[in-house]
């Protein structure tokens, strides 16, 4: 069996905010169809790391490639890394999609318009095609009856499902999830996790920053535990949640086990 090609290669990502080092050199490779859960306590840098992957945060050090396209990062005259080519960065982002903790749907657009916006305006795809895709995606996430609704009218779980449909609308190579269920109440968490599980099963490449241990254990193919801006340990769920788990990861899990 051949190993699928890497969709994402992040090498030695470092990031500090002022004096505080948030990421102390993290490398991660995601292969096609892989689902990676990133776990860690608050302040471990997991969200910052995820936001570096699509350049919403610019790392201080490191390299990122989506497929075989390098992120346009170069040093400016002060020696700081910055996005050297905005268009190239945008093209890179067009290959990815992000689902946010706070949904971040565009409030002035309807559910259907939210889903159609990126493929229609950014990718300039054919309208009929985009509409057909958007309809089937909304059907898929269980929001078929809400095409004309505005985001404000929806529950958190519904908004997040629309946001997931929006993320899939461009058929991205990689979907980044930034704590997608953290702003939801428990019953809504289930509907969003069920949807994410079905995406994983159809072979989407996903990197998920989450606090949902059941999701990490049952759905993802690899678990990465971040601590103090470093990869403390990583491996298959069976390994990470089994007898070989590191003491630090066990300590991290302990409150959840109570």
């Amino acid at each position: 069996m051949t190993v699928p090609p890497p969709v994402l290669t992040a090498t030695n990502i470092r990031k500090s905010f002022g004096d505080r080092e948030v990421l102390a050199g993290i490398s991660l490779e995601a292969r096609e169809g892989e689902v990676i859960s990133i776990l860690g306590g608050s302040g471990s840098g997991k969200s910052t790391f995820l936001r570096c992957l699509n350049l919403l945060e610019v790392p201080d050090e490191g390299q990122i490639a989506i497929g075989d396209v390098q992120a346009p990062l170069a040093r400016n005259r002060h020696g700081r890394l910055e996005v050297s080519d905005g268009r190239a960065a945008a093209r890179l982002r067009m290959q990815t999609a992000m689902v946010f903790q706070g949904f971040n749907l565009w409030p002035h657009l309807t559910v259907l318009q939210n889903v159609m916006e990126a493929p229609l305006r950014v990718h300039r795809r054919d309208r009929d095609e985009v509409l057909a895709t958007a309809r089937s995606l909304l059907e898929r996430v269980g929001m078929a009856g809400f095409h004309a609704a505005y985001p404000k009218r929806l529950s958190g779980g519904q908004q997040q499902r629309v946001a997931i449909a929006r993320a899939l609308a461009t058929n991205p190579k990689l979907v980044l999830f930034d704590e997608p269920t953290s702003a939801l109440d428990p019953e809504r968490v289930r509907e969003v996790l069920a949807l994410m599980r079905s995406l994983a099963e159809e072979g989407r490449t996903m990197i998920v920053v989450t606090h949902e241990m059941a999701f990490a254990r049952d759905v993802s193919g690899r678990v990465v535990h971040l601590m103090n801006g470093r990869v403390e340990s990583s491996g298959s769920p069976a390994h990470m949640f089994g007898a070989d788990a590191t003491a630090a990861f066990r300590a991290f899990l302990a409150p959840a086990a109570l």
């Binding site: 268009r87 945008a90 982002r93 949904f103 565009w106």
Partner: protein
Amino acid sequence: MGEHLTFIASVTALLVRAVPVTLLILAVSGVCATALATGLTAMSVARSPLPRLIQRTWTFLFRGTPLILQIFMIYYGFAMVPWIRHGILWTAFRDPVFCTCLAMTCCCSAYIAEIFRGALAAVPRGEIEAGRACGMTGFMLLRRVIAPSLVRIALPSYSNEIIMMTKSTSLASTITVLDITGVAQQVIAHSYRTLEVFCAAAALYLLINAGLSALLAALERRLDVDRAVPSISVPPTLEPLS
């Protein structure tokens, strides 16, 4: 009593003929001030310090001095400058309507730019990030994500500013413009019937502002997605995570 009414009726007829002048000043300075304010807002978030400094200085000067002084300075003051007095610019600066429009454009653009600047800061960051995350840049991000939110946030304060501007147009009467207030003062000079004339003039301003308020409120309602009631039909069903 009947004499009062016929007088007010005839005065009102005179004043109504001055309404286009008031509306002209309002329309020209309203449009120009809004356009200028948009530029100033862009300058206020520029990366290099010079545009930001220009915007701050502009606001400091035109918000910090009385509009009437600005009008006087442009109309009477610029007439003292030889190269304006004897140059091609004089055709514009000798016209009091032009001078009023120019002063109001400068002054009100400073206020409107502050309204836009505040609204820009209030556009939720997450909406912008969602735009960037899917590959939007520059103008598209501005037009598709930032502007729609900005307009909705700014509109109530902006409406307020437009209403204020309507009333400010009356200052044109101080430099000989025969707008509603100018005609009113002319009629008073002949008739000495202050109360009736000013009441009739005030009524006209009220009417104009009532119309503007209704228009702006309609726009606000139209943009308010919360009022548009969607058709929610099928409740979603999903398999729970086992």
